[in-house]
């Protein structure tokens, strides 16, 4: 057990090291000299050589790549993600200020997805190959195929502009959260519905469900007490693994609803070529993504003892 944990930790560290190296290396993909490009876009005119030289000196860009990387990584490990090229505020505080809005959106979207997906997936499995099943599968297919920025605008059009039920954009109240959460949650719901359906179909055919039925337990009780509880185990892990989906979606959904958050911070920084912010946000999201996946893996083992015994693949 301890050996397995150490192996896992070793592998996790090597992945995180690779992640940090690639994250820091992004800046060097810039065609030409990053300092020149940044200054040219900042001033909308070609900078002089002395301006480029002073920018390079100010931000430590004259050092060899490895020296820059190690210095950045050392600071990052101590919680210091550096300072923006344009704002005096530290990136750590910018990330920490944006994080709550994105987390709020992520949690609300997850709640929306579960509220939609669990009943739909269960109904679909219980009424397999009927019109209910087909309708639910078509809904899931449309949900997974819809561009979230488009859905966002449709919801804005109907709920905000036509009906006046919710604010058009921003943050602060529950009303501000409803449409972004539905926009982001519906895509997730489509994926979770498929998982719930598949998982329920597997469980419904299990012996213990047959046993419960043969003992005369009512069908509804069999479905919700015996089957659903076990069918939800893979769902828990899938919801955890959806973290990447949430972050991807947040980038777009925050732009649609003009919500300040990690996504908005990243997109603005990409356009401004504010690389320290880009590096900081990408590093934080990638680490959160990797750690969540590991936690989900461990949770799966804890929730389903058969995994540890090797009875399930």
């Amino acid at each position: 057990m301890l050996r397995a944990l150490l192996v896992r930790l070793g592998s996790l560290s090597s992945v995180l090291l690779g992640v940090s190296l690639i994250t820091y290396g992004f800046m060097f993909l810039t065609p030409g000299d990053p300092a020149y490009t940044i200054l040219r876009e900042q001033r909308q005119s070609p900078p002089s050589e002395s301006q480029v030289a002073s920018f390079r000196a100010e931000h430590g860009l004259d050092d060899p790549f490895l020296v820059q990387y190690v210095s950045w990584l050392t600071d990052a490990l101590q919680g210091d993600l550096g300072t923006s090229y344009y704002q005096s505020e530290s990136i750590t505080s910018l990330v920490l200020a944006s994080l709550p809005n994105t987390l709020e959106l992520a949690l609300a979207a997850t709640a929306v997805s579960l509220v939609l997906a669990v009943p739909l997936g269960v109904l679909s499995a219980v009424h397999r190959d009927t019109w209910i099943d087909r309708t639910s599968q078509i809904a899931a297919l449309i949900g997974v195929s819809m561009p979230n920025f488009w859905l966002g605008y449709l919801l804005l059009l109907v709920c905000s502009l036509w009906l006046g039920l919710t604010p058009v954009g921003g943050v602060g109240t529950f009303g501000h959260l409803v449409l972004p959460a539905i926009t982001l949650g519906s895509g997730m719901a489509a994926i979770v519905t498929r998982i719930v359906r598949t998982s329920m179909l597997e469980v419904i055919e299990a012996d213990y469900v047959d046993t419960a039925r043969s003992k005369g337990v009512r069908n509804r009780l069999v479905i919700y007490k015996h089957a659903l509880r076990n069918a939800l185990i893979p769902v828990v892990t899938i919801v955890g693994l959806q973290f990447g989906f949430v972050i991807n979606g947040a980038v777009i959904v925050e732009a649609v609803f003009q919500r300040p958050g990690l996504g908005t911070l990243l997109v603005d920084a990409v356009f401004a070529r504010d690389y320290p912010i880009v590096q900081g946000v990408v590093l934080v999201t990638a680490i959160a993504f990797v750690v969540t996946n590991q936690v989900v893996d461990l949770a799966y083992v804890a929730l389903d003892p058969r995994v540890e015994r090797g009875e399930r693949s």
Binding site: G18, I22, F26, F289
Partner: protein, 295 residues
Amino acid sequence: MSEQNRLEWRRRLDRWRPEIRTNTTIRLGGGVVGLLAIVALVGPLVSPYEPTTQALESRLQGPTLAHPLGTDALGRDVATRLTYGARVSLALAVVATTIRVAIGTTIGLLAATGGRFIDALLMRLVDVQLAFPGLVLALVIAGVLGPSLRNVVIALSVVGWASYARVVRGSVLAIRDRPFVQSSKLYGTPRRRLVRRHLLPHVASPVLVLATLNLGTVALAAAGLSYLGLGAQPPTAEWGTMIAGGRNYLRSAPWLVTAPGVAIMLTVVGFNLLGDGLRDALDPDHIDDRKRRRT
């Protein structure tokens, strides 16, 4: 391709053909994708309008006979721009997915056949790639390289190859020790020939399924990047850019956002149906199961 290689591929295609022909989901998905391809090819040829020519006197017109999907803020015909956009979206999805397949398959084959060290190294690389949320990584790469369609293709190609590498490696490892591969090795078949004759045909079906499903994801991501301003630049007719351009007229001209959105959704639905159908049709267990039921 040698005669034996051709025979091996033909044998597999013969095995798949009846499954593909009778699968309703494939027919449905294929129909949608085929229709979109026809629109992309023929639409621009038959449209009386140019996608970028402005006609300010007829700006923001609702759907009429002359403009079935209305006009945009610069008086351009939305239907014409949609057909040009179909070319961009389909071409982009196909090119980026093909590059993903090429990179992923090569890395997967190298990992499975190149010995323990190479395998461990390449699989760590795969883990690192999968550690980034895909769109975030593509967004940053496209942003750093500079907003353009070409850079979106590069970004989306660099981002999505890891799942192919995993699938290919897994499929090869599953057959690596089978007698037909082992005997071929014992006969001294060169590695390249072994890969071409025995390994590639075996990984073809999972890769094909994944690639088809991926075409939709890539089209969706490309539209998202263009919507954010990192892909096609105005005045190019591209669906994501069209939605971004129409957002300021949401109340007065909702068709500017709805029409390209429906087009993106149909494309992704088509590819997803095709991918789902192919997965059912090409899964060996599924084929055997159906044959057993037929006999």
